[in-house]
Amino acid sequence: MTLWEIKTKQTALIDGLDPTLVPAVMQRLTEMGFASGQSIQCLRRSPFKGPIVLQLGDCVYSLEQDIADRINVSMN
């Protein structure tokens, strides 16, 4: 499943990033901590499929659907 599919308050483990992502975006996501094995929690979702709010490590990020759909996660 992808990061976009997890529900509010759910925690998941990152499996990996879509390899077809633009290299610059891939690099940035990795530096922000989106790497395999990291635990990530969905804090909230916005109405009308707006950006999702996530807690990863010591930061809170917001990602839109296009990008969240390309991060693979699994529930533990």
């Binding site: 940035r28 996501l29 922000m32 010591d58 990020y61």
Partner: protein
């Protein structure tokens, strides 16, 4: 003079640290060719240069790219004696990713590095201690814990960087040769060893977000905050503006009384006090606007606003990040167009830049304020909480925003064909909520006023003098038969359909240089005409002269839409890299403005 450069991740308390180290005397330099803003200030015998915050040494957007380029240049330069890297002690992992990249770069170029472990007071408040000695051994660099806000450790830090700048060879980073692990792995393990637990740090932030990002309440709060912002421009600033107006009026009266009647007296009261003075009145308003935008930005709310706006803005082909340039476009289009660099997607960035001139910038404020004072009664509602003039103000701003969104849709349709350019996604960090510190905020407010005067003042001065000369001669003081009247009558047919006579025509024409000139020009024109020769409120003069409601509203709409600012056109040309785009917008918005004004004058 040698340089010390200050770097760090965004939202790490870097600008406050910079302010505390340099005091309030700073220089903002736009480097030749590029427009990345590098602030510099005096620190002892050194120049401290504040680099824009970046997340990484690999760039994602245009502003990061330029900042990183500059950083590489500084690392190579002999003038750089020391690198100070600021870390957020509450979010060690994220700031270390950048910190370690900087350390490695400095190592490569043989530069000394000192780390400041900022916001240590917040860490202590959670009952946590960070062993800086051990951390500095693990990093291979000197680390000083401090708080730029509560001043803990700041004095020691000043001494330390003074010493390090003098003997940078003692502060070269030492990197363990056998360490094969990546920057990401090191920062993770270091933050695990020294840092706070994420849940503790984020608890307060998440609780506030629960309210401000709530699906219903969050939206309501957003509109309340934006509405208050516009109300306050009017209500908070008006006592200040009245003060400036009174002071100028007294000064004018004093000068006028102490000089003999004649041409010099006429020049000083009409051209100087009437023209230049009527524009100075609006400086407090610009400063109040800058203050509120700064307050929202420093508190961390702007990032939430971008998040809330992302989905709605994406229907118009814009990004949530377009919100911040749009908002600062209400202060001035020029920094706003530059702020659009933070938008990762090139196409959305272009559309944002092209529509920013429709945001009602502070130069329009004098024009709106004057026309509102002329046309709209000062009616109070809800016991003075709302007034009709404030509401009109809000509506004018709103019309600008709606026009910008409609133009965005149009531009989006027109550029559909080059959609294949890979679009960069929306990725945003939500920073911790913080109480803004007064020092950098006040500095920004003062700078905004100063820059406005510096930028617009000379233009307004010369235009005022020019108009006065044209309006005063050949028959001293007889406006009806002056050179200006001749020119005015000649162009009158253009403005007649808008219900405006030649004086407005002249004022509009000269305001194509810069909008705020409109008020000064009208001030000079009405000043010359007025028999009593005093500064008895330009608005009252126009009211007495009679301006129809339709023509007045048309005039307001004209100023909402028209791109009357030479500096903005130049900036657009530089940032889009296309003169065609810039001048095309100038003509396009001008025609649109004329049509809207004509509709209002004809049908109201």
């Amino acid at each position: 003079m040698k340089n010390i450069i200050l770097v760090g991740k965004p939202n790490s308390g870097k600008s406050l640290l910079f302010n505390q180290l340099t005091g309030l005397r700073q220089k903002v330099a736009n480097f030749p060719g590029v427009t990345v803003e590098l602030k510099s200030g005096q620190f002892g015998d050194y120049r401290l240069v504040d680099f824009p915050g970046t997340y990484s040494l690999k760039s994602l957007s245009r502003d990061e790219e330029l900042a990183i380029e500059k950083l590489h240049e500084a690392m190579l330069s002999d003038a750089t004696s020391l690198v100070v890297c600021n870390l957020d002690a509450t979010r060690l992992e994220r700031s270390l990713v950048f910190g370690l990249q900087v350390r490695d770069l400095a190592h490569k170029h043989n530069k000394g590095v000192v780390f400041s472990l900022n916001m240590i007071d917040e860490v202590q408040r959670f009952g946590h201690e960070i062993d800086t000695e051990k951390l500095s051994r693990d990093l291979g660099c000197a680390v000083y814990a401090l708080s730029a806000k509560s001043l803990i450790g700041l004095h020691e830090f000043k001494l330390a960087i003074q010493d390090a700048a003098e003997h940078p060879e003692d502060f070269l980073p030492t990197i363990k040769a056998d360490d094969e692990s990546s920057v990401l792995q090191i920062s993770r393990s270091l933050s695990k060893r020294y840092g706070l637990k994420a849940d503790i740090v984020l608890k307060k932030q998440n609780r506030i977000d629960g309210f401000l990002l709530n699906n219903v309440l969050g939206g309501v709060m957003f509109f309340i905050i934006m509405f208050l912002l516009f109300q306050s421009i009017f209500t908070w600033a008006s006592p200040l503006m009245d003060g400036v107006e009174m002071a100028l009026g007294d000064m004018a009266a004093f000068v006028s009384n102490s000089l003999p009647d004649g041409i010099v007296n006429d020049f000083i009261t009409d051209a100087l006090f009437g023209g230049v003075g009527s524009f100075l009145v609006f400086v407090p308003q610009i400063m109040v606007l800058t203050f509120i935008i700064g307050l929202l930005e420093d508190s961390g709310y702007l990032a939430r606003a971008a998040l809330i706006c992302h989905k709605p803005l994406s229907y118009f082909g814009l990004s949530g990040r377009s919100f911040i340039p749009y908002l600062s476009g209400h202060a001035c289009a020029i920094p706003a167009i530059m702020a659009a660099r933070t938008i990762e997607s090139p196409r959305k960035r272009l559309i944002t830049m092209m529509t920013i001139p429709l945001m009602s910038c502070s130069a329009r404020l004098p024009v709106y304020a004057l026309l509102i004072a002329v046309l709209i009664p000062d009616t109070q509602y809800l016991g003075g909480l709302l007034n009709l003039q404030g509401i009109t103000f809000f509506i004018l701003y709103f019309i600008g925003i709606v026009t910008a969104l409609l133009v965005s849709v149009l531009l989006n349709k027109m550029t559909e064909s080059d959609k294949d350019k890979a679009d960069m996604p929306f990725i945003l960090e939500l920073p911790t909520y913080r109480l803004p510190h007064w020092k950098p905020l006040m500095h920004r407010v003062l700078t905004s006023g100063k820059q406005f005067i510096k930028r617009a003042g000379p233009v307004i001065f010369w235009v005022s003098v020019f108009i006065w000369v044209l309006g005063y001669f050949p028959e001293s003081g007889e406006l009806q038969s002056s050179y200006l009247a001749m020119i005015g009558h000649w162009i009158e047919p253009i403005f007649e359909p808008l219900g405006l006579d030649w004086r407005y025509g002249v004022a509009i024409l000269v305001s194509f240089l810069a909008r705020e000139v409109f008020v000064g020009a009208l001030g000079t024109l009405f000043g010359i005409q007025g028999a009593d020769e005093n500064i008895a409120g330009l608005a009252a003069n126009i009211q007495a002269d009679g301006l129809t409601l339709g023509a007045g509203i048309g005039l307001m709409l004209f100023y909402v839409v028209a791109l009357q600012c030479v500096a903005t056109v130049a900036t657009l040309k530089g940032e889009t890299g296309s003169g065609k785009v810039a001048w095309g917008l100038f003509v396009g918005y001008g025609l649109l403005a004329y049509c809207m004004a004509w509709l209002a004058a004809t049908f109201i």
